[in-house]
Symmetry: C2
Subunit: 380 residues, 2 copies
């Protein structure tokens, strides 16, 4: 059975990248490899839309999230953490491990924070050192108002730290224009690579705070990465295959253009949302992002069976809900190397599975709705 | 020009593993992938020769080294650190970052510690919590007396922590029989994989100490890995391609047999050492290990030029010296997917380069010496 991977990470890896990864191993302390690291950093600057320093880690995205706390905040320092999903909660878990004094803004999953709430908190407490949130929250499918947050936070001494792990390269994002101080990302989402590589972009305002931080860091000591990456090398043995794959991914992204990608994923998201609405289903996320569509499983439909049938009987790996959303939602990704006809195929399979599970709708209703959007707006 | 990679990490990746890595991406939260993680853990137990828990990290080996300190020792606790090379020094750097009170045994590079020194230290100071050293020190090519250390340390409350990053899978090692408490390893040496995966094997005696540790850990929180890996899963998104490659590597290692591999690398090391002796060169390491041969660059020969010529003019990536050994030694690896005729080829190129650099010897002297050992002792 032909397999389709439409999960919000890992995402499918383009064949060209897979072949690059399968090339004979090379040594990492050579002029040839250093040149590759230099190109990778320049390419990432384009994708992050920043002139800031870029750090590259052999780790999953969580490693970069940890570093964005452990290199920045000292024990007892205050930070605002927006908690509106599983990965938002991870910011809190890391902060607590490192003895930070978190000021939580707890929100229902599937919603986002009002920027005014943060504005007021920052006015009331001048000792808040940073605000941690997401560009897109993978577990719920929302997009956060990062631009608005940047406008507010840049006027204070606090830092704006964004987890763009699932958003980067798909969801509209301009690190410098939006005044983001630290942005972390991972390889296995919009960047179309296998899991195992993580990135951080770090502003001068953030470096100034990092210089005052006294937490214990070694593997994720950002100062040591900064020093080495300025010479296009790595403090430890870097992941050679991820760097090589990243260069191919950068080529693909540059050839299309980052803004053109933002538009294309917006159209994919619109098509996907139109399809599920036409099937009588409701969205979980408000406002929904452009890289993953989270859909509420209707009453009387078994949400776990839906995801399992999609995978085992039709070949489509989509995602269910995580933690408190388990069984209650399903998520179809449209990030990375997921394009127009992958979404058409996924909606087709979704109709078949929904029918099997007893949900009533007209055959092809989801497909027709998606088709209308894609035919009119998708740019090949 | 045909390329030969004989560096002590990364090492060449077998073609079968490269092709596995290039297979289409799969999702990590699926029964199929969990089964793979379970198999990988069982296979690693065979390679470590242990019944202990095995943890798998998306990181380079240094990440596992950090965890072997940050999960084990509290600030102010004492640990013996043997410092006889670059990676030995890394144990010290990490310990200092985490506020450990290190008792250094500083030795000239290229030598190893006398077990009696450690025995005496442990008798004198009953509050020493652990001893950190290497199986093989990659930067100098020595092999440490791990079995003897295990006999001594297992009689105390202290833990024996071994960095086997360059040794595992090549240098003779029996974790349980040798009474090692924690052993860390990396993917890109004897395990024949690309860099980016690290492992730790952890004894019950070590877990008991880990339970008392209060350092800040999140990405490398071993307790959280233990809990997840017992269910064949990972706290974060694991490196799917490394796990898949690891299964192939385990197949290759099991098919040959771990003890047969120990013997084979011993013969490769002997051949390599015989060759350099026949060329009038001296070894740097005492005692030398079986996975890398470190050779002193003779006076009047330019050590940096030797390594550069090997790579740029003949296609052989070997390693020079690191830090204080820079320019003074060169290192030829015989670990992982480096076999009989790779060593023959490397000695041939080495003769050509030594001749170019003005060193006097009889053509083929190195090759003949290697050939004699390989013909008589190498088992295909």
């Amino acid at each position: 059975m032909k397999k389709y991977l439409l999960s919000p990470g890992p995402t499918p890896v383009p064949e060209d990248i897979l072949l690059t990864i399968a090339e004979p191993m090379i040594h990492h302390r050579t002029p040839a490899f250093k040149a590759m690291v230099g190109q990778a950093i320049e390419g990432l600057k384009y994708i992050f839309q920043t002139k800031n320093d870029i750090l590259i880690f052999s780790a999953s995205g969580t490693g970069a999230m940890e570093g964005a706390i452990s290199n920045v905040l000292n024990k007892g320092e205050k930070a605002i953490i927006v908690r509106n999903g599983k990965f938002a909660e991870r910011w809190g878990e890391i902060a607590e491990k490192f003895g930070i004094d978190p000021i939580y803004i707890d929100l229902p999953w599937g919603t986002v924070v009002e920027p005014e709430i943060i504005e007021k908190l920052l006015k009331d407490k001048s000792d808040i050192k940073a605000v941690y949130t997401q560009l897109t929250e993978t577990s719920t499918g929302v997009v956060l108002p990062v631009k608005e947050l940047g406008d507010i936070i840049s006027k204070t001494d606090a830092l704006l730290v964004i987890d763009a792990i699932s958003g980067l390269g798909g969801q509209e994002f301009y690190m410098d224009d939006w005044k983001v101080d630290i942005c972390v990302a991972g390889s296995q989402k919009g960047l179309m690579l296998p899991p195992g590589h993580a990135y951080a972009a770090v502003s001068e305002k953030a470096w100034a705070k990092i210089e005052t931080c006294t937490q214990s860091n070694y593997y994720f000591d950002w100062k040591s990465y900064r020093k080495k990456l300025a010479k296009n090398t790595d403090p430890y043995t870097g992941s050679v295959i991820h760097v090589k794959g990243l260069l191919k991914a950068i080529d693909i992204i540059k050839a299309e253009g980052i803004e053109e990608r933002f538009v294309r994923y917006r159209v994919l998201a619109k098509a996907c949302r139109s399809a599920v609405a036409a099937l009588g289903l409701e969205l979980y996320a408000n406002p929904p992002c452009d890289v993953v569509t989270a859909v509420i499983v209707p009453e009387n439909v078994d949400g776990l069976a839906l995801v399992k049938k999609m995978r085992d009987e039709y070949g489509f790996t989509i995602a269910g809900g995580q933690a408190e959303a388990k069984g209650k939602i399903f998520r179809i990704a449209h990030m990375g190397y997921i394009e127009c006809f992958d979404i058409v195929a996924a909606i087709s399979a979704l109709e078949m599975v929904l029918h099997e599970l007893g949900w009533k709708f007209e055959w092809g209703a989801g497909l027709s709705a998606a088709q209308k959007v894609l035919a009119e707006e998708y740019k090949f």
